[in-house]
């Protein structure tokens, strides 16, 4: 009797319970959907804005590099070539193509078709291949950022003259060049091969990428051994006493400290006290490793904790010392977890700006850093600096730099997943 009663009760509640489950499932789907939608919108927005940054407008000009016009002779040294006024060479070619442009103001417009960095581009090409000197050659020179924007369509030609940056006269010049097929759109290698610049058409991300790599390397070299050693000691060797409890609490607290505090610490200790150079990846790396230490320690400890005790007991039972047990059995088994924690810590460090603000890495640096003591900046700071620049061309560069940063993060996370899959053991 009572049994029957229970069954009917259960049957009655069944529908309600299924409904609850379905509602829960649906809300789960909805949250994933919303999160995914935000991500797609964000990435699509950045991606669309970034696209023009990967294309560069170049203008082909026939330049007279004869010995007379460069005032050189076949025996000229590198230093003499460096002194040549290549800007005049370019301007002469422009005047030759547009002989009707006579007024001073119009000439200024004409010269501004070509980027102000083109003279150095030309100089570097000539220095690389000295055989160019003596003849007339066609060169693809960087177009000015306004011309670039017009060709890409970022500036609308159809707007009234007063509402656009490029005036009618300049457009008429560009149209002549277009008719002669002198304007071409190329993949923007400069963006990946040069350092920062104040001209959008010359600005590149390589300096920031190298800065990020050096900084992350220093962070990894410092934080990985220290954090893993600390985690192993705390999990396997440390006695249970108040002192160790105190240390544990502190490590957990450290993980919650705002990152700017580490920057202040870095400024006070490493720059002011140890007088390390400002803006250098070494200081950035040390500061970021302080920040990532607790993350790696906590992740490593839980990885070590997850190794089954039977493994340790078996090793000890067969006569291994404590140290042999740890380094031969526990550590390899915990390695995938430790690596995942480390890479997540590194990814966090890669995107960090606040602590680097204090140690002078928010700086304009053109030269690509060669060592960890050279002044450098990092990817997220480059994004910040470009976002704050008045020139319109930096808008697309900003988005492109964000894409590069996201690319790095994806690579690091993929590496974490790969390492975990490769070394993971199931028991």
């Amino acid at each position: 009797m009572s049994k029957n009663n229970n069954t009917s009760k259960i049957e009655k509640s069944l529908k309600r319970r299924y409904l609850k489950e379905n509602i829960f499932k649906a809300s789960g789907y909805a949250s994933i959907g919303i999160a995914f939608m935000f991500l797609v919108v964000l990435l699509a927005d950045i991606g669309i804005k970034a696209m023009p940054a990967f294309i560069q407008t170049q203008i082909e000009l026939k330049l007279d590099l004869s010995y007379e016009s460069l005032q050189l002779n076949p025996e000229s040294s590198v230093a003499e070539i460096k002194k040549v006024d290549f800007r005049q060479v370019i301007r002469k070619a422009l005047r030759k193509q547009f002989p009707d442009v006579k007024k001073r103001k119009e000439k200024k417009q004409l010269y501004s078709l070509i980027s102000s960095g083109a003279e150095y581009q030309l100089r570097d090409m000539v220095l690389e291949n000295k055989e160019l000197i003596g003849n007339e050659h066609s060169f693809n020179l960087y177009a000015d950022d306004d011309v670039d924007a017009l060709i890409k369509g970022t500036i609308n030609r159809k707007l009234a003259q007063s509402e656009r940056r490029v005036k009618d006269f300049k457009i008429s010049l560009i149209e002549v060049l277009e008719k002669n097929n002198q304007v071409s759109k190329k993949f923007n290698w400069t963006f990946f091969s040069s350092g920062d610049s104040r001209e959008p058409e010359l600005a590149g991300i390589k300096g920031a990428i190298m800065g990020s790599i050096y900084t992350i390397l220093v962070t990894l070299m410092l934080s990985f051994p220290v954090a893993v050693a600390a985690a192993i000691y705390l999990e396997e060797f440390a006695p249970k006493n108040r002192m160790i409890d105190f240390i544990e609490i502190n490590i957990n607290n450290l993980a919650a400290v705002p990152s700017i505090v580490f920057g202040l610490l870095g400024l006070a200790v490493f720059i002011n006290f140890f007088s390390l150079p400002r803006s250098a990846p070494i200081v950035g790396g040390i500061v970021l490793s302080l920040m990532t230490l607790p993350t790696i320690i906590i992740a490593s400890r839980s990885a070590i904790k997850a190794v089954p005790p039977s493994l340790r007991e078996a090793a000890l039972g067969l006569g291994a010392s404590k140290m042999q047990t740890v380094f031969h059995h526990v550590f390899p088994a915990a390695l995938p977890g430790i690596l995942t924690g480390t890479i997540i810590g590194m990814a966090q460090a890669l995107g960090e700006t606040a602590p680097l603000l204090m140690i002078g890495m928010v700086a304009f640096i053109v030269d690509i850093p060669q060592t960890i003591v050279d002044p450098a900046t990092v990817l997220p700071i480059q994004v910040f600096l470009w976002a704050d620049s008045p020139e319109r061309g930096f808008l697309e560069k900003t988005s492109a730099a964000i894409l590069v940063l996201i690319g790095f993060l994806i690579i690091m996370n993929a590496l974490a997943i790969y390492l975990r899959k490769k070394f993971e053991k199931k028991w």
Binding site: L222, A229, F274, F364, V373, P375, P390
Partner: protein, 345 residues
């Protein structure tokens, strides 16, 4: 074991690095984010056209730059600092006390602060008094000596000739030098046109400052962060709003936004240069004399920065939105730099 080894490695690294950093071979510049866009252009040109390394320019803000600059005479401290206002006497004293004795002051030009809105929207012709009445927290009532909480909701309330749109101004936060300059030049400029407020200045300077310098907090003035590009984007979305930012951003975005005339003078290159546009400020940089000759390229960099082709009337800095000095002032700056004349305040 591992721990110990790392520690030793760090210690060894530190000692070797300290030795390394002593021989710095690039110029280090700190300071104002307003001067940053100009200093960086010169630095880049300098790096590309000479065999010296490109100077490193940090954007630390004027005050932060002064602190770093005046810290000591040590070769590892900054060689120059940019400033969007003149060095204060307190900062000069700090420098002197820390042994930074020889300082060269270089006035590079002017920067205008503009009030602008969307190009398709109303055209504003404002006065400094309008700006004060629209943006101050408390404004004078009809009775002399009495202040009331700012009742103005629309520009029409401020002055009958102005368009009837809600007062909504996007501007920089208090940490910004642009904000300081705007408050000092525009707000205070309008504020002291009330005779009784002007007379308070002598009696009670703090009160005078709090009347003239306090911006309203009821939502009419919106702090939009330090990023001027963001303000311009927001202006396009909201045609009724006005934005406050530097002239170089107006110059670069003249197809999107237009500047309001202030006291009858439009924010144009010529009017800022001749001083008729009232909201403009001088830009400086300061040089540590003791480092000239020790850091390679210092005197050459100074020469490039103060050359005619950089900050002269047709210089490349002018293309970037800097307002040039008149010939007389330029000659003085030029000779000051040539002789490395000491600054005295």
């Amino acid at each position: 074991m591992k721990n110990l080894k790392t520690l030793i490695a760090i210690a060894a690294l530190t000692t070797s690095l300290t030795a390394l950093s002593a021989g710095r071979d690039y110029i280090s510049v700190v300071g104002s984010s307003t001067v940053y866009p100009f200093a960086t252009v010169v630095a880049e040109k300098f790096g590309k056209s000479t065999d010296f390394k490109t100077p490193k320019i940090e954007s630390t803000g004027t005050g932060g730059g002064m602190k770093l600059f005046c810290k000591s005479i040590d070769i590892n401290t900054a060689d120059m600092t940019n400033a969007s206002r003149r060095m204060k006497s307190s900062e000069f004293k700090m420098c002197q006390e820390n042994g930074v004795k020889g300082i060269v002051e270089v006035l590079i030009g002017y920067d205008g602060i503009v009030v602008a809105n969307d190009i398709k929207s109303h055209t504003f012709a404002l006065t400094r008094k309008d700006l004060f009445l629209a943006l101050a927290k408390e404004v004078p009532s009809e009775k002399d000596g009495e202040l009331i909480v700012n009742p103005n909701k629309t520009w029409h309330d401020v002055r009958a000739e102005l368009p009837n749109v809600k007062i909504e101004v996007l501007g920089p936060p208090p940490t910004s030098g642009t904000r300081d300059a705007f408050v000092e030049l525009a707000m205070e400029g309008g504020c002291k046109q009330f005779p009784w407020i002007k007379s308070t200045k002598k009696k009670d300077k703090t009160k005078y400052k709090s009347i003239c310098h306090t911006i309203r907090e009821d939502g009419a003035y919106i702090e939009a962060g330090e990023n001027d590009n963001l303000i311009i984007q927001k202006l396009q979305k909201n045609p009724d709003a006005l934005g406050i930012f530097g002239f170089s951003f107006l110059d670069q975005n003249s197809d999107l936004v237009k500047g309001a005339a202030i006291d009858g003078s439009a924010p144009e290159f010529e009017s800022i240069a001749d001083g008729s546009y009232p909201v403009s400020r001088p830009l400086y940089f300061y040089v540590k004399k003791a480092h000239v000759g020790k850091i390679p390229g210092m005197s050459e960099f100074l020469e490039e920065f103060t050359s005619h082709k950089a900050m002269g009337e047709e210089g490349y800095l002018i293309d970037k939105g800097l307002i040039p000095l008149d010939e007389e002032k330029y000659q003085k700056v030029f000779s000051d730099v040539k002789n490395l004349s000491n600054l005295s305040l």
